[in-house]
């Protein structure tokens, strides 16, 4: 029944649209379908004439749009206008709150009718163009991991990328500046060096794991040092752990830099009780030292700085033999009963047992002994020359192997010629063959063949299908954030990848691969803005970096459990489980969770279900000192409903705070002005109620019933402009899922943008809706959306290279300002 024409499509949408209403088109019968279309056309005509044209007419030209100049009989003639109308209507941003509102049933019918008409007339409307694209820094880091097995923190090596809707992989925004080039060339050189190791290693001292700028350990010196840390060997207490790249095989020494770092500082309380420090490399104990106890305490107390230096000396310069490559270094204590501590009070912070308060310095290599096989070297050295005559042929092999993957295409003899020049110049250095390969890798990664990817343009006004290699790259960057692997390239070279069965099989394979985690860490975290939680530093003494890390871990595990385990994307809103450890469980008020490791729990409180109950979301949409229903409402509207609100008009007074002499009030009470001032109300009337429904969550995700500042009870009851009343996060969740295709549509829009590396245009919308409709049969699983995108023309074809700024259809300019984004003011997150 789903394939029987436009009438049915509409019938279905209406069915979905008005589940709770008396629906007029539930039966799948052609006559009914036509009837539905006619009914929809009538709603459309009436609504536009009686409501929209009140402002959008050729006298007022509100938003530079006059609907009385358009032919209402065939919306397909003005797809640019009506696609925007669909977006505005879906989020109910139009008509503005405060104006006469059509019923929800009418809006749903209207949207259904418009979508059906637009889809029916969508043939040959145009295919978008993706310009020449530079690797983003996130893609660079993923590629380094994939090609060479080197971990790179993109933020530490390359400049900030411009983001579009949170995504940093939009081709048009990835420009290249001299700063980028300088940092890029230097990053490439270091990566190459780390991958190969240093044949002639330089002595180096590197400090890691420290609190600031260190290895990202949310922990040295914090209360997490008092108990076992997740992932550390059982029977240990606290500690620091970091990854260190050892440039060569040899002896390395581990140092604590001063007394403070091991709790033997000016106040050497940690020396009161004896403890055993253990150092582990890749989980294997390599050294053990006793520290603390009466002797050390006496030393610190009696001899002052000298004594403290002596204590540090005991646990410093610890010699360890390590092989070249990346290894995990851990320093921790053997756990002992607290009964041995003479100070069980003091909140545990003054424990009497030493804790690690800072990072560790690794110095070396002393007596380097060459380079043994590291994970990186295993990837690079597909051959090992035994004698000099074998070196060059081996280097050529390596060059061909590496460049094929890096350039995402077959490597020619001409390529090999210019690449080998770099090998030769490195070979002449003291490091010999290894240095030659280091230079070779540097050249491969520096070249524009690696840094840029292009999809060839068709003749003006036409579109062309991507060839197999282009498809392999596009697919691979979409699902893995990096270039294709050998299997994909082999299929592409045989021109088999574009065969439907082969492509589907590859998509399935790629989604099972660990590299698909980028769909969570990059796509989902960018879409939901979970990658920037560190920008909010709550003024809450119970909150620490550990809790922020918990939020991130929970979000990552939860998103993976839905997206990568191939559940319905709607589960992102409705799933009745989450992942917590003991401290996060306490934050959420979930009893009976012990220990620092994360585990899946079923949520009894339905307000905690799905994304709306996640601490990451609550924190991301708050200020340092309070919640913000506006930020939350805007977040819901933009990221979950897919209708970004317009920015506030200039010159508007944003006067919401408590004034001197006024009684304290809740944030919610202060928001009342948004309802009384018509200018504010137009958007805030839509936004604020969505956020108010979540007011029971404080800024760090705890459930509350009383405002902590005003001591007044939280009032989460909000009325949407449609008249629907929300009383809780659960009500909001039900509202967001009332149309089964609404949330999958939002996900698909964002996912398509991420996949296509460009912003979506009106002419993409019919394809987007087809993907959603087709996915309905598989209950909107993430994989079904991905398969839909991969098989869409938008993904499989390249449109004409339009050098001018005009949209493919010049008519789009006429009504450009209908959408706020076109007025230049991108959606502005107004205060409160």
């Amino acid at each position: 029944m789903r394939k029987s024409g436009t009438g049915f499509k509409y019938a279905l949408m209406s069915a979905g649209a008005c589940l709770s209403l008396a629906c007029f088109a539930l039966s799948a019968d052609a006559a009914d379908g036509q009837q539905a279309v006619n009914a929809g056309a009538k709603v459309f005509n009436d609504t536009v004439t009686n409501i929209c044209e009140k402002c959008h007419n050729s006298t007022d030209w509100a938003g530079s749009l006059a609907m009385d100049t358009l032919d209402l009989r065939s919306p397909g003639q003005d797809p640019d206008v009506w696609e925007k109308a669909v977006t505005k209507l879906s989020g109910r941003l139009m008509p503005p709150a405060g104006e006469k509102q059509p019923s929800q049933a009418d809006v749903d019918a209207l949207v259904g009718y418009l979508e059906t008409s637009l889809d029916a007339s969508a043939k040959d409307r145009g295919i978008g163009h993706v310009p020449l694209q530079r690797l983003s820094r996130t893609e660079f880091a993923a590629s380094m991991k994939g090609l060479l097995g080197v971990d790179v923190d993109p933020k530490q090596v390359l400049p900030t990328e411009i983001e579009v809707d949170g995504f940093s992989n939009i081709a048009g925004a990835l420009s290249t500046s001299p700063t980028f080039m300088e940092q890029y060339l230097s990053a490439v050189r270091r990566v190459a060096q780390r991958a190969v190791g240093e044949p002639v290693p330089k002595m180096a001292s590197v400090f890691s794991g420290g609190g600031g700028g260190g290895g990202g350990q949310a922990g040295p010196g914090s209360p997490t040092q008092l108990t076992h840390k997740d992932g550390y060997p059982l029977g240990t207490r606290g500690g620091v752990s970091f990854t260190h790249v050892f440039p060569a095989d040899g002896e390395y020494r581990f140092n604590f830099l001063d007394g403070d770092s091991i709790d033997a500082g000016l106040y050497p309380r940690g020396m009161e009780t004896a403890a055993t420090l253990v150092i582990l490399v890749d989980g294997k104990e390599v050294a053990r030292r006793e520290i603390g106890g009466p002797d050390d305490l006496a030393l610190a107390d009696r001899d002052g700085p000298k004594g403290r230096t002596a204590i540090v000396a005991k646990v410093s310069g610890i010699p360890v033999q390590v092989t070249a490559g990346s290894h995990t270094v851990t320093a921790t204590f053997i756990e002992r009963s607290w009964a041995q501590s003479n100070d069980p009070t003091g909140g545990g912070l003054v424990s009497g047992m030493p804790i690690i308060r800072d990072g560790i310095q690794v110095v070396g290599p002393y007596t380097p002994r060459g380079l043994s096989l590291s994970a990186s070297r295993a990837k690079i050295f597909i051959c090992e020359p035994k004698q000099e005559a074998e070196e060059r042929p081996c280097a050529e092999k390596i060059a061909r192997h590496l460049a094929t993957q890096a350039f995402r295409r077959p490597v020619t003899d001409a390529d090999l010629k210019w690449l080998m020049k770099f090998y030769e110049s490195g070979r002449a250095e003291a490091g010999g063959f290894d240095s030659g390969v280091t230079e070779l890798i540097t050249a491969v990664l520096s070249s524009p063949d690696f840094l840029y990817r292009a999809i060839s343009s068709p003749a003006p006004g036409e579109s062309r299908p991507l060839d197999d290699l282009e498809l392999a790259s596009r697919l691979s960057f979409f699902l893995w954030n990096q270039g294709p692997d050998a299997e994909l390239l082999a299929l592409a070279n045989k021109k088999q990848l574009s065969e439907p069965a082969v492509l589907d099989a590859q998509v399935a394979r790629m989604l099972k691969d660990p590299r698909a985690q980028s769909l969570v860490s990059d796509f989902a975290f960018s879409w939901l803005n979970f990658g920037t939680l560190d920008q909010i530093d709550p003024l809450d003494r119970t909150f620490n970096a550990g809790m922020r890390a918990n939020f991130e871990t929970e979000a990552r595990l939860f998103l993976s459990s839905v997206l990568l385990a191939n559940r319905s994307v709607t589960d992102l809103l409705t799933a009745d489980y989450t992942f917590v450890n003991d401290s996060l469980a306490r934050q959420y008020g979930i009893p009976g969770v012990l220990g620092p490791q994360f585990r899946k729990v079923t949520l009894k409180d339905e307000n905690r279900w799905g994304l709306l109950g996640k601490g990451a979301l609550q924190l991301r949409t708050s200020y340092a000192d309070r919640t913000s229903p506006v930020l939350r409402g805007e977040y819901v509207l933009d990221r979950l409903i897919g209708t970004p609100p317009s920015p506030p008009p200039p010159g508007v007074v944003t006067d919401l705070s408590v004034h001197e002499g006024q009684p304290p009030s809740t944030v919610r009470q202060r928001l009342e002005i948004h309802r009384t001032n018509p200018t504010c109300r137009a958007c805030h009337g839509v936004m604020d109620p969505l956020g108010i429904a979540m007011e029971n969550f404080d800024l760090t995700g705890r459930w509350r019933t009383v405002d902590s500042v005003s001591k007044l009870p939280i009032d989460p009851v909000a009325t949407l402009s449609s008249g629907i009343v929300l009383r809780s996060p659960s009500d909001l969740r039900r509202y967001l899922t009332r149309r089964p295709d609404q949330f999958p549509t939002t996900v698909t829009k964002r996912l398509m943008m991420y996949a296509l590396n460009r912003e979506l245009e009106y002419y993409d919308m019919p394809q987007m809706r087809k993907i959603v409709r087709d996915a309905a049969a598989s209950n909107y699983t993430f994989a079904s959306l991905i398969t839909g995108i991969v098989n869409s023309d938008a993904f499989r074809r390249q449109g004409p290279d339009v050098k001018s700024k005009k949209a493919p259809d010049a008519r789009a300019l006429k009504t450009a300002s209908l959408d706020a984004r076109d007025t230049g003011a991108t959606p502005l997150r107004q205060e409160q």
Binding site: V164, S205, S456, S457, Q535, H659, E831
Partner: protein, 449 residues
């Protein structure tokens, strides 16, 4: 992953910890000798220009309380003027300072936050319907084209934290909120907030002279290769993509120029300290460090033009270290509440004080016939006026420095109502000896200056 960036060589450089605790500021002072060989051979004056951007305006005379609360504007006309409270820390350098009444920037109009950073130095309203960045070159980059070519690094663009902020930068794109510097209409320049990366950008890489030279040689051949490869790729592309690739090639050529210049960089007189480890968690230290890095780059003549976004537009940064627990952006919506306004002024004063520290350093560094401050011209200001209304008139701007005798401060200029900011920019260009008919939406020079 800090490991990736930590420096090598135990012998010469002992480790500096990133937590900020061990970082005795201003640590960079150590590396700048009182008078370097560079400093004394000032045959031709080396003019420096700096642009210091503070988001969210200032408490001026256009709140509901009018002049009563104005902490920015000077009182009195001409030379008898008195600096506003926010500017109090500039008192010792008053003779270098010109303050202004009645400056406006229409190019930022109506954008609330998103266009403020980029249009501050462009005074051109961007083409926001375009896909991608589309504005014009900014003032600092025009100057860099003229005065920046004598140093390996023509200009430095830095900030104290990431400029990608939800409040200013969400939605359609961050083209105009993320930077104050455009090298051309489609070339926004990233603002670096990692002090370590800034340091390496300034000093170059390599621990020894031999190492540095080897690296330069290697980079030169890599750049040759890139140019060759780009030419090959060029032929396979459509016209639009060819244009994008030429932008890339321009960048490569600029790097080539820098590599050549870097060979002549003379750090003999400079005691190179340890590189900072990364972004500091302590924001106060981070701000001071960034000012120190700019001062260092001027003192050692590593670059002559700097643009510094002191804190990001739309930031949620709190200022507990000066007693303001509120996030800067939300509190900037002060609602005409006097306590909130007071807190806002504390933040504004804090940044001004750090700027004053910076001036002190430059005033204390002699080169040739005067101090670096005598040879500099700095613009400090915002592109917003009253943050409660997001308006752009009057703008808080001050001009500081001797500009080799071209700028005499010690005055407050009451300009005609709604004088375009671009007129000030055009005048700055003229003071720096750069002849240009028009800049952005300028209508003429500020002859009073």
């Amino acid at each position: 992953m800090a490991i990736f960036l930590t420096k090598k060589h135990l012998s010469r450089r002992t480790f500096l910890r990133g937590s900020g605790v061990a970082l005795a500021l201003p640590f960079l002072d150590a590396m700048v000798p009182a008078a370097t060989a560079l400093g004394q051979t000032a045959a031709a004056p080396k003019t420096r220009a700096g642009f210091f951007y503070l988001p969210h305006g200032a408490i001026m005379n256009n709140t509901v309380f009018g002049k009563e609360v104005d902490a920015w504007s000077s009182t009195g006309k001409g030379a008898d003027f008195k600096l506003g409270k926010t500017l109090a820390s500039l008192e010792p350098y008053k003779k270098y300072v010109t303050t202004f009444d009645n400056i406006e920037n229409l190019a930022a109009g109506g954008s609330v936050h998103t266009l403020n950073p980029a249009t501050w130095l462009s005074c051109v309203h961007p083409d926001t319907a375009a896909k991608g960045a589309s504005m014009s070159i900014t003032l600092d980059q025009v100057i860099a084209q003229h005065l920046g070519q004598k140093t390996a690094l023509p200009s430095l663009e830095v900030c104290s934290e990431t400029t990608i902020q939800v409040a200013a930068c969400g939605g359609a794109g961050c083209y105009y909120a993320s930077t104050t510097s455009y090298a051309g209409p489609n070339s926004p320049l990233p603002m670096e907030y990692n002090p370590r990366k800034v340091f390496i950008q300034l000093m170059g890489e390599g621990d020894t002279k031999a190492e540095r030279e080897a690296l330069l040689r290697k980079n030169a051949s890599i750049l040759d290769m890139i140019t060759d490869r780009a030419k090959v790729l060029h032929n396979e592309l459509g016209p639009g993509d060819q244009a994008r690739l030429s932008d890339y090639l321009d960048t490569v050529r600029e790097i080539e120029r820098r590599v050549t210049m870097a060979g002549t960089r003379d750090l003999k007189g400079v005691n190179v300290p340890d590189a900072p480890v990364g972004e500091l968690e302590d924001f106060d230290k981070q701000v001071r460090l960034m000012f120190d890095l700019i001062a260092l780059s001027f003192q050692a003549d590593l670059t002559r033009i700097a643009s510094y976004v002191m804190v990001a537009e739309g930031t949620n940064r709190t200022y507990n270290f000066v007693g303001v627990p509120d996030s800067f952006h939300p509190v900037s919506h002060h609602s005409n509440d006097k306590e909130r306004m007071r807190r806002l002024m504390v933040i504004e004063r804090y940044h001004m004080e750090r700027f004053a520290d910076f001036l002190k350093k430059l005033a204390g560094t002699n080169e040739g016939d005067g101090s670096i401050l005598d040879h500099s011209l700095f613009l400090f200001g915002s592109n917003m006026s009253n943050s409660n209304q997001h308006d752009n008139y009057p703008l808080p701007e001050i001009l500081v420095g001797g500009a080799n005798g071209a700028h005499v401060g010690g005055k407050n200029l009451v300009l005609p109502a709604r004088t375009p900011l671009a007129n000030l920019h055009l005048t700055i260009l003229s003071k720096l000896g750069i002849k240009q008919e028009k800049f952005g939406n300028s209508t003429g020079l500020l002859t009073e200056l």
